[in-house]
């Protein structure tokens, strides 16, 4: 029985890694579509969200099966509960990639007056957080998880900077106001992606230590 359980835990790990690469891919598509005003890719990123949702359901079923059939205790129980919580955050990240693409479609008619450079900075930082947080889970790496949590401050600072810059921009000329407001939403979505990566890292720590830091 134990052997089968181990194999199932291994499978859970692999499915989580798979979902991790899916959301990485989703963010990459969303960023590329945003930067290049590529409406086709934006639509692709939005459609891809369905696949991420399926993956979430699959992992959820696997976790439920493990909980019901194996009635795990202590560390294994924590691991499976953490996985269940993590996939919600991962799925939300996928949602936000779709949200960003929705804004890309909205902004596709006019050339960017505002350089998306700062946004790319946020994108880079949050993608890095997402990759690290899943890596931390797979390797049961407390230190890496803590790094992700600390990194969220960088993303929050970037968001504050983008926000201030956009406010200044609108203040100078209302003409670019519409686009600035839309870019602000995009920045907010990236900030939320950072929050969800932080949540994932917190679940990693919970799965190792059994206590949830906030």
């Amino acid at each position: 029985m134990r052997n089968r359980f181990d194999r199932q835990l291994e499978q859970l790990n692999n499915e989580l890694i798979q979902m991790g690469s899916m959301i990485e891919h989703a963010i990459e598509m969303a960023v590329s579509a945003l930067v290049n005003q590529d409406t086709e890719k934006a639509k692709e990123a939005m459609a891809y969200d369905v696949e991420i949702d399926h993956q979430e359901r699959d992992i959820e079923s696997l976790c439920m099966k493990l909980l019901l059939q194996q009635q795990p205790v202590a560390r294994d129980l924590r691991l499976i509960s953490a996985a269940l919580k993590m996939i919600t955050d991962m799925e939300r990240i996928g949602d936000h990639a779709g949200d960003i693409s929705e804004m890309t479609l909205l902004m596709s008619d006019e050339p960017y007056i505002i350089s998306p450079e700062e946004i790319q900075g946020m994108a880079k930082e949050t993608t890095d957080m997402v990759i690290k947080s899943i890596d931390a889970f797979v390797k049961r790496d407390m230190e890496l998880a803590k790094k992700v949590i600390a990194q969220d401050d960088v993303v929050d600072d970037l968001f504050m900077k983008v926000k201030q810059d956009l406010i200044q921009m609108i203040n100078k000329s209302a003409e670019n106001g519409e686009q600035a407001a839309d870019i602000l939403m995009v920045a907010k979505y990236f900030e939320r992606i950072g929050d969800h990566a932080t949540n994932i890292a917190e679940w990693v720590i919970y799965s190792i230590t059994g206590s949830h830091i906030d």
Copy 2:
């Protein structure tokens, strides 16, 4: 068997109505907290999200049980699939009530320079959409569902107006920029609540006609 199935469908209906009143309550709390800068109520609204999530899980389990045990076809199958999709949208509405409360906490330190009147208009309209969309499901009312879908244009127009007003406001004085940007996010969350109510109405039509309008 049929009788038991009918009772279970009845239970599904009741659980959906229950989840409907929960999200209504969540929006009400979020709006009241926002308007009165009531940080305690904002925290309450954020915590309440957990209960909505539980309700979603309960309904999901019930739907799965119905699908597996009863293997429904045609109209019943559509009804249960629609319920499964609807609860995702309902849960997202609950999330957005939490998101709005997060912004309320962020804005709690300074008095409002901007009157939240327009936001209250959006809140009123979207709450109305949410109530109607669930009502449409319960009563299998196509016409009501179509009304909700049409009503989304009103919300979108309100959002565009709020957005333009906030842009003008920032353009006049950068001093209020921070608050204006935060209010813009709140407006966006209400707009998304309207989108989710529209989705629910579309699922209602699907459950009746078997085809999904977009």
